[in-house]
């Protein structure tokens, strides 16, 4: 059988075309262009690659599901389960305010979505101003983050107009979609009540609530993993071109959500091969054949890690020299255990999910050995689950070998979400073993709901776990400042300039402001901005109470005369401050001085227009 299958693979011309496309993709993506050219190419073409892949995916989904959708009947719909999903999603969304939880990740993603919306380019704006009545991005850079999430947000901008809150709307919508998919996986594995159990387990996970109300790509990552798994099931069941295209492009898009999600191409490939083997011949519709070419931009974008060493963010954890190493495994595992079983006030975990999950993963491993022996007898959902368990395990292992892979770190804990999904799937597989005893799943459901009400909901409502992450709270504080301003035509000096630009406020990093003092003085003198503000963070010296030390990079220098506008102590050791630039000195002389003599009046219209043009050109040159 295997030999015959291999022979059919080799004799199929389409397989060779697929290999040729893959070879071209590898050559172009990895070798043909110098790093900087490749990154520039991503900025210009990245959006279009994702658009084509997304369009093919939607078209394939329509082709494979259109028959069922046409026969859809509201009477036959499972309304109680829809209610469970709706209630679960609502619980996740109502306890925390929407906001950018992980800075700068979420801001950079938003910035990329802004450029995609405005100019169909895949760059994050770093300079933007209102010059002639419309806010325009003056300069941008290609971000290291994959493009599918900003692409989706940009689509929402396209249809509803640009607003930063669209990122939250996307995540809120994805929350319901994800829970719906979890329900579908649960129902396929162990019946309807198991589906409810899966939804309840996730509804009781404060970490999910934290991300559902954020602007990051974690929800999309989870949703795409679950969707790809389910499409894998459909492919195994149907083994037709439409199902294969939908499944492959789901995997292709999943690989473009988070950096490490490219791992899931492995289970996708395994399931494709399994389907071909069961079919006795390879199926290769044209979209799948060209699929490797639609991933060309991915390795190109990844070269940012070679060009910008800071992209690995090794500087944030002094003492580490390599981003990945097996030597980090032991330490990271300790932190993972610490996260899963920490107190509700310190970590957004769920003890019910952690405890059941750890037990279920062990049971799943035992069952896996048994089921692998009789793989051909397994149901499609079990085969897809087994394949995806490989991807989920690999991802967990990769994170445990990452220098910053500590699940109890406020910035990193979101990376445990796929592991939570793995645990939920393991629980559902374990529950399937007790199909003859429905009381088991009911008892588990009752325990989960009790845990949700007594531990998770209070934890989500207090969300104490988010309080120690100062950057997130500072971002919310700065957004509140923006909302309070009656006029949006001010300039903000802040090293997180993208945050302001993404909200269509002119901004420049503090590091640049220091070097362009003369230009800023020009703006101050001419009042081209209604105000010039600066954001700074101060650290309180624990040795000497009252002594404040400015964060490195926030200091503007003595030439800038500042007046504090707003100050808040959001952390016992830190003060966040927004000040107004009152004056910029050039040596001893302030730059806001009236001219020595009043400008000569101009009455000739042509002269007036010429002066306006001259000023505008100078204005553009001096823009920070």
């Amino acid at each position: 059988m295997t030999n015959r299958f291999l022979a059919s693979l080799l004799s199929e011309r389409r397989c060779w075309w697929f290999l040729a496309a893959a070879a071209v993709a590898v050559a172009v993506g990895f070798y043909s262009l110098p790093d900087k050219v490749a990154i520039k190419a991503v900025s210009k073409t990245g959006f279009w690659f994702v658009l084509v892949a997304f369009t093919i995916w939607v078209w394939a989904l329509w082709r494979t599901f259109s028959q069922e959708l046409r026969g859809w009947n509201w009477r036959g719909f499972d309304w109680p389960s829809a209610m469970v999903v709706a209630v679960g999603g609502t619980i996740l969304l109502v306890h925390e305010m929407s906001g950018f939880k992980i800075v700068m990740d979420e801001i950079m993603l938003l910035g990329t979505s802004m450029s995609m919306h405005l100019d169909k380019v895949a760059t994050t704006p770093i300079r933007g101003h209102d010059i002639q009545g419309a806010f325009v991005v003056v300069e941008g850079i290609v971000d290291k983050r994959p493009l599918f999430f900003p692409f989706l947000v940009s689509l929402v901008h396209d249809f509803t107009g640009y607003r930063p809150g669209n990122a939250f709307a996307v995540n809120a919508g994805l929350t319901f979609v994800f829970l719906g998919l979890v329900f579908a996986i649960g129902r396929m594995l162990a019946g309807r009540v198991a589906g409810w159990l899966g939804v309840a387990l996730f509804a009781g996970l404060p970490l999910l609530a934290h991300n559902s109300t954020g602007g990051g790509f974690e929800l999309l990552n989870l949703t795409m993993i679950a969707a790809t798994l389910l499409l894998g099931v459909r492919w195994i069941e149907r083994r037709d071109e439409a199902a294969l295209t939908a499944f492959c492009f789901s995997g292709l898009l999943l690989a473009q959500v988070r950096y490490e999600s490219v791992i899931y191409l492995l289970p996708v490939a395994l399931l494709v091969l399994w389907g071909w083997w069961r079919e006795g011949r390879p199926l290769l519709p044209w979209p799948v054949m060209i699929a490797p070419l639609l991933m060309v931009h991915y390795p190109m974008q990844h070269r940012i890690f070679q060009v910008r060493e800071s992209a690995w963010e090794m500087f944030s954890k002094p003492g580490y020299t390599k981003p990945f190493s097996l030597s980090y495994l032991g330490d990271n595992l300790e932190h993972a255990v610490a996260f899963f079983f920490a107190k509700a006030t310190s970590q957004p975990n769920s003890h019910v999910l952690s405890a059941l999950g750890v037990l279920a993963v062990v049971l799943f491993a035992v069952l896996l050995v048994r089921r692998l022996r009789k793989l051909t007898e397994q149901t499609p959902v079990m085969i897809a689950t087994i394949a995806f368990s490989v991807g989920l395990a690999l991802q967990f292992l990769l994170l445990m070998c990452y220098f910053w892979g500590k699940f109890d770190d406020p910035v990193i804990r979101r990376l445990s979400l796929p592991t939570h999904l793995a645990m939920v799937i393991a629980i559902l597989v374990a529950v399937a073993e007790f199909k003859q005893r429905p009381a088991v799943v009911r008892v588990l459901l009752a325990i989960t709901v009790a845990g949700l009400l007594t531990r998770s909901v209070p934890s989500m409502a207090a969300h104490a776990y988010s309080q120690e992450y100062l950057a997130g709270r500072e971002t919310a504080w700065r957004r509140a400042f923006m909302a309070e301003q009656k006029r949006g035509d001010y300039l903000m000096i802040d090293n997180d300039s993208t945050l302001w630009i993404a909200h269509r406020v002119s901004s420049t990093p503090t590091t640049i402001a220091k070097t362009r003092r003369t230009d800023l003085a020009f703006f101050l003198r001419n009042r081209t901005f209604s105000d010039i503000f600066v954001f700074q963070r101060l650290k309180l010296d624990p040795e000497d109470l009252g002594k404040k030390i400015m964060r490195e990079g926030d200091e503007l220098g003595p030439e800038f005369v500042l007046e504090t506008v707003l100050e808040e102590r959001m952390h016992p050791e830190h003060i966040s401050r927004i000040s107004r630039v009152k004056e910029i000195k050039e040596g001893e002389a302030p730059t806001i001085t009236p001219p020595a003599k009043a400008p000569a009046p101009i009455t000739d219209r042509a002269e007036i227009e010429k002066a306006r043009q001259l000023f505008l050109e100078n204005f553009m040159r001096k823009l920070p």
Binding site: L51, H117, L118, D119, K120, I131, Q132, G133, A134, V136, H157, D158, F159, Y162, R487, D489, F522, R525, N526, R527, T528, F529, S530, P595, A598, P599, A600, P601, I602, T603, R605, I608, A611, R612, Q613, L614, F615, L616, E617, N618, F619
Partner: protein, 597 residues
Amino acid sequence: MIQRLGQLLGERAVRWRLALFALAGVAAVVLGFRLFTPDQVGRLIIHGGYPFMLALFAGFIFFAVRVAKPHRDEFAAWLRRPGWGGLAVLAATIFAVWSDFFAHKVLFDEYVLQGTAWHMHATKEIGAPIRAYDFAGTWLAVDAFLDKRPYFFAFVVSLLHDLTGFRLENVYVANTTLAALTLALTYWLVRRLTGRTGPACLAVALLATLPLFGQNATGAGMEMHNLAMITVGMVCAVLYLERPDADRLCLLVLGGALLAQCRYESALFVVPIGVVAALGWWRSGRIMLPWVVCLAPLLLVPYAWLDRFVQSKPVLWQLREGETARFALSYVANNLEGARRFFLSIAPEQANSLWLTLAGLGAIGVVVVALARWLRLPAVERPAWTASQLVVALFGLVVAGNLALLMFYYWSRLDEPIASRFSLPLYLTLALLAGWAAHALDRRWPATRVVAIGLAVWTLLLGSRAYSHRFYTQHNQVMHELNWELDQISARRGPVLVITSKATMPYLLQRIPALNTGIARTRGAELTWHQQLGTFREILVTRVLRPTTAEGDLIVDPDDALPENFQLEPITRKRFGGRWIEVCRLVAVRPEAAPAQ
């Protein structure tokens, strides 16, 4: 042919009616051009314009109902199941409205129309207020002028005010509805031309994705109304030609008279309507001259009056510095260059649709080839033109002629945001022709599908950038300036008086008394008197500051400067592009240096 003409004129009653029609024509010329002086016609329009427009509009509705009545069941059936056509028109309208934001975009024009609508609503007279005050709680216009713009659109908005109460937003309701009507009638016309849904939906999509269409559908100007009335005129003409009868002819003639009152140059559409009326007589073999048609020349008299009034008042021409005539050969080269740049632009700064331009030009090519083939056939074998083909051809020729005429106009560079709206009738014609041509080519290759795919690609590649930036609307600095001024002034506790170098209308429409800077310069004593009396809590001055060098060195714009004895205290300032707007408080007017009055 002469024999046929003789048959047509054979009836005595027809000859009498024709004589009456000729008499009405002579009377119209005398009334319109000879009998009254320009000042007298101004007064006649002010006092008689509203009743005339009301009667004309009521007559049109009356005949529209009469024509539609026998088809009531068809309408009801269509409303119950509008099908793909209904869905396409709805989606296209939503798209057009979504593609831009509601605002006054062609300043002065749109505010003057709003002012005229308000004045018509309040007084049933034609005029645009320039001064208004709150007298004991009643907001009264104390000074109005007769504007150069035809007043049918202002009349429609005033009707909305009459029915729902005065509010500025009514103009957006009107324009959105008119956009939907234009798209629906575009669908109907192409459906009539081709007998198919696909090409009709394609024409609707081509028009709705045009950024200029969305810009005007969400604006406060009269362009959408003009476009809607052109389609109404075409539909009336098709209905009449398909089955000539007296009611349909009256509907056509009244529709034509209304269309002539939409924009300055829309009177040109009287020509195709006249030709269609005559063709209808020819086709039906009888001359129909109901009373409405006999009196038709007189319906155009108010248009002639308004034109004469405008001719006599050069100040209304709004010429720019150095220009002495509205139409001249010297403008052509510049305007043609502007048109080329506009129609073929791929930059998001222009509200054009390159795909509609290309599809339309291609369609013209197809029309030319089809026409050549038709002419080469022996006369007896030539297939007769359908009513819709004739109407689209006639109206299309007038639209082309109109655009050609505009190339001689002093302010018709289509790549200027203010002037690009003049291209809308041409774009409508191109959309109709593209729908027809796609259908004609469908027999050989899937043209409708190809044009639709091309449209999708254009929308993704170029259109989407235009919609997301909306530079063509956003770069209107004066709009931003005015909105900001209104925000600043509305936020202050009233009553306030505003002195501005811009038009006073935007303030008056917000019920804020306003005065032009030029007038204020000479009314220092009166301003002081009211300051002492406490009539206004504050007198605010808005003025433009301009840079004089590359480094800035701002001065007050000479047009905005008040005499030195006007003591001003700056309140706030904001930059708009390369200039600033400053809002000041008038502290006092020192009497010692007041200019002689």
